[in-house]
């Protein structure tokens, strides 16, 4: 008999235990410590309320309201998960696949509640709770709600929980449940609106019940934001546009405060909050998600004429008395550029009132392409307006160099002719058109358009303006032409005369692929206040549609005494 065998076995096995202990407790001790900590220490997030967004009258147009989520604790329901989800699905009417997907995607660890059914009514939540009192937790969370979803859709944007695109956002310090503004005011002023999420740091046991509080940080509500927009005007603009594709912008002429900006067709941001029925908006060929007012550039057409006129007067190429004879067309070599009518002898004021192409073709040829390019830049085209809205478009201001670089051909005389009446490669956003024309009416200043009025109850209006460097004499000459466009019987916008406001403006029919775009950009003076307006209709056929929409819009404002 020998003890040696037992000795060796015992020694070997004890050595094995000792080294394994060494490995787990010393070598991997920190790793297991953090795993243990993750087990019992939890931050139960308290989602902060997002700031409200108000219109200028103080009406809430975007705010948080509570919805109810039903949560489970994974570790708690291991055995009965399948059955529980089936029962839940049956009782709540929520698809089982949705419940399972929520469970999979939202689970962070086995001991924290996971919202499997989101966004249900309080009564439904309580009914579920009564059916499965052991397994469910009710989790109320704030949800964004837009009271006038279509009217304000493009201006406000919407919010999404950061976990949807968490990979991109986490480097900016967002937490998964935090809501992030997507486009519009919600995105631009996200840092003010979002507030700070709080949380309870708690100790939990394996059943997921809280056994001790370590600390709490309360959530801080985001700042309320008051806009310069007026919900009444916004509604009128949206209703007037109806099923048309187009834009109405109304702005305070001297400050740049926007009273209305509607892009049609619009979408319903509430659907994006809920995450349902969004496909119809995303796939619609009319692109309801696109804010046409400042994210898309179009040819400006005749609305460019007042700008050409100011530049030509400034550089003394023409004077107010300069006349050209409109024979119905302008000839350059063998090319013929048609006018709308045979206007006969026209001076500048008449040419603006009648929107005579031949007159401005002549002026343009006298100016030359370079001067037209600089006129466009002088009035802010090809640059950002600086509006407090993310990702506005710059449009395109062509030049000889630009054409060489981008089209790879030389600049021809025909390009100058086209450019002189706002056609060709020249594209602008409606907001740029408004700012440019507005400068003629406010004494020569390019204003920075803005939405913001107050942040957290404090005035946040910053008017910034840039002088375009021209004599008010020249502006007055052009203004007169635009006054005549509305207030004479032959003017292109004479329909607006009936309204009884003091209106001046310029129409534009911009040729493009398909039907022409219709423009009307002008200025309204009423009760000592001056507003600029831009109506743009995509593929409307002609400017008369735009004038008609403008008429209906202003008529509505007049009727409701909103202006």
């Amino acid at each position: 008999m020998s003890r040696r065998f037992c000795y060796i076995i015992f020694l070997f096995c004890f050595f094995l235990l000792g080294t394994t202990l060494f490995y787990y407790q010393i070598v991997k001790g920190d790793y297991f410590s953090s795993r243990a900590r993750n087990n019992y220490m939890h931050v139960l997030p308290i989602v902060s309320l997002r700031g409200d967004i108000l219109d200028r009258t103080g009406e809430k147009i975007a705010y948080d309201r509570p919805v109810f989520n039903v949560a489970v604790i994974p570790h708690h329901i291991i055995a009965k998960r399948e059955k529980l989800f089936s029962d839940l699905s049956e009782l709540s009417g929520c698809k089982k696949t949705t419940i399972e997907r929520n469970y999979r995607t939202l689970m962070t660890n086995h001991f924290s509640p996971v919202n499997v059914i989101t966004d249900i009514d309080k009564s439904d939540a309580i009914a579920l709770m009564e059916a499965f009192p052991e397994d469910l937790i009710i989790n109320p969370t704030p949800k964004r709600f837009y009271s006038m979803p279509y009217e304000f859709s493009h201006v406000l944007g919407y919010v999404k929980e950061a976990n949807v695109f968490y990979d991109k956002l986490k480097k900016y310090g967002y937490k998964p449940l935090e809501r992030v503004g997507i486009s519009g005011i919600e995105e631009y002023y996200d840092s003010y609106l979002k507030g700070e999420d709080g949380g309870d740091l708690v100790e939990v046991n394996a059943q997921g019940s809280v056994v001790g509080y370590i600390g709490q940080r309360s959530a801080i509500k985001g700042k309320n934001i008051k806009l310069t927009l007026d919900s009444g005007i916004q509604k009128a603009a949206y209703d007037v546009l109806g099923s048309r594709r187009g834009v109405i912008i109304l702005m305070d002429s001297s400050t740049g405060a926007l009273l209305s900006m509607v892009s049609s067709p619009a979408y319903n941001p509430n659907y994006f909050i809920k995450g349902s029925n969004t496909g119809s908006f995303l796939l619609d060929k009319n692109a309801p998600m696109l804010n046409r007012a400042l994210k898309s550039a179009y040819p400006l057409g005749s609305v460019f004429k007042p700008i050409i006129a100011v530049e030509a007067l400034m550089s003394h190429i023409i004077s107010s008395g300069t006349q050209f004879n409109c024979t119905g067309s302008f000839k350059l070599g063998r090319a013929v550029f048609k006018c709308m009518h045979v206007h006969g002898i026209q001076d500048l004021r008449q040419a603006l009132a009648h929107s005579c192409n031949v007159y401005f073709n002549n002026v343009g040829m006298l100016m030359g392409a370079d001067r037209i390019t600089s006129a466009a830049y002088r009035f802010g085209f090809g640059n950002y307006t600086g509006i407090d809205y993310p990702n506005e478009s710059k449009g395109v201001v062509p030049s000889k160099e630009w054409k060489r670089k981008n089209i790879k051909t030389a600049w021809y005389g025909g390009d100058t002719v086209n450019f002189s009446i706002g056609q060709g490669y020249f594209t602008v956003t409606p907001i740029q058109a408004l700012i440019a024309v507005n400068a003629i009416f406010n004494g020569g200043y390019l204003v920075r358009p803005y939405f913001i009025s107050e942040i957290g109850g404090e005035n946040a209006e910053i008017t910034a303006r840039k002088y375009i460097g021209t004599d008010s004499r020249f502006l007055d000459i052009v203004k007169n032409g635009m006054w005549d466009a509305v207030n004479t019987d032959t003017g292109t916008a004479r329909l607006l005369k009936k309204l009884g406001f003091s209106i001046a403006g310029k129409t534009g029919t911009a040729q493009t692929r398909g039907k022409a775009h219709g423009w009307f950009v002008g200025n309204i003076k009423n009760n000592g206040l001056s507003y600029s307006i831009c109506v743009f209709l995509e593929n409307a056929g002609s400017s008369s549609e735009a004038v008609k929409v403008c008429y209906e819009f202003l008529d509505e404002l007049k009727r409701k005494e909103l202006l």
Binding site: G18, Q25, F32, I78
Partner: protein
């Protein structure tokens, strides 16, 4: 004479130390979120401990030759009890292991651990070169019959301790080594077939032993949380009553089979090593003692006692560390469980009795 007394003295002190560690760990493991919620379990264990000491003293005062003479009788009685369990035993947690006797419930399978040592010691002590084969098969047959009855309950863990005991004692005996080697090879060959006889939960345990992350919330849960508890103890541990895995209830069965995680989490690497050291002293002292004894039967008896304690310690700690599959084997002296404590203390009593002669 002087040396002999010291050996026994050391072993008794070590057992006392283990009793203390056991009570402390049990006390801690019965807390839940700062509340001593398992009071009755703790007092029941205290009572068992007192009874165990009485049993130890009684057994140690009996001449061990008495047990030698009645080895087969005890074995037979135990087999009868196991049959009784199969028919009238009461069921708990899916297994039929317990017999109720005057209000107390106890597991006859635990008793098998003693009777198996007795019967094996008697067999191996009787081995002569000429009857080697006969005793090998007698011992093997008795053990396997006993083990199968236990596995039937089902209690795979306890059932497997008997064959392991047989191998450990057999290898040290006079029987030729090749018998055991051939037996081992045969067993290895039948392992794939044994898979079919396992219960579903036993298969799950083996699957998660290979990879616990297969089912982290189900069968793999215990072993993952057990490793986290042990690993997070670090060098010096989190302190008495401060183990988070333990206190916040992340570990199931932590007062019984997984009590080692409580020790490792709250006392760290140093505490765990200390515990292993105490066990090592007991094992080595018993083995050392066996060399000094003249009587063959007593020597095998001591070896069996050491082997049995060793099997419990190694398999239990190995299982909490994830280096052995999860089987229901308690940690001697420490785990909650009256029958096992009583059984282990009787073994120590037997050791003391054998030393006294």
């Amino acid at each position: 004479m002087k040396i002999r007394l010291r050996t026994e003295y050391i072993v008794v002190i070590c057992v006392l130390v283990l009793n203390c560690i056991g009570l402390m760990s049990l006390y801690s493991s019965l807390h839940h979120a700062g509340m001593f919620s398992g009071r009755d379990i703790f007092y029941r264990q205290l009572m068992w401990m007192a009874m165990s000491w009485v049993a130890l003293i009684i057994v140690s005062s009996i001449n061990y030759r008495t047990f030698h003479d009645r080895s087969y009788l005890f074995y037979g009685l135990n087999i009868l009890l196991l049959f009784a369990v199969l028919f009238i035993g009461h069921e708990s947690m899916g297994a039929q292991r317990w017999l109720s006797l005057a209000g107390f419930t106890f597991q006859p399978s635990e008793l098998s651990k003693i009777t198996a040592i007795l019967v094996l010691a008697r067999c191996f002590a009787a081995v002569r070169p000429e009857n080697m084969r006969r005793y090998f098969f007698i011992a093997l047959g008795l053990i396997m019959f006993n083990a199968l009855l236990i596995i039937k309950q089902p209690d795979l863990g306890t059932g497997l301790t008997l064959p392991i005991l047989f191998m450990l004692m057999g290898f040290s005996s006079m029987i030729k080594k090749r018998y055991f080697i051939i037996l081992s090879l045969l067993v290895c060959m039948t392992i794939p077939f044994a898979w079919n006889f396992l219960k579903p939960y036993q298969r799950d345990r083996l699957t998660v032993f290979v990879n616990p992350n297969v089912d982290p919330l189900g069968a793999g849960y215990t072993i993952i949380q057990s490793k986290v508890a042990i690993g997070s103890g670090g060098i010096a541990g989190k302190g008495f009553l401060s183990g988070t895995q333990n206190q916040f209830n992340f570990l199931p069965e932590r007062h019984s089979d997984f009590i080692f995680t409580v020790v490792a989490e709250e006392w760290g690497f140093l505490g765990s090593l200390f515990l292993l050291f105490i066990y090592w002293i007991i094992l080595s002292k018993i083995l050392d003692k066996s060399k000094e004894l003249k009587d063959n039967y007593a020597r095998y008896l001591l070896m069996g006692i050491a082997a049995m304690i060793f099997i419990h310690v190694f398999v239990n700690i190995g299982m909490t560390l994830g280096i052995l599959p999860v089987v229901g084997i308690p940690l001697s002296f420490i785990s909650y469980g009256g029958t096992n404590l009583l059984m282990t203390m009787i073994l120590i009593g037997l050791f003391l009795g054998a030393c006294r002669e």
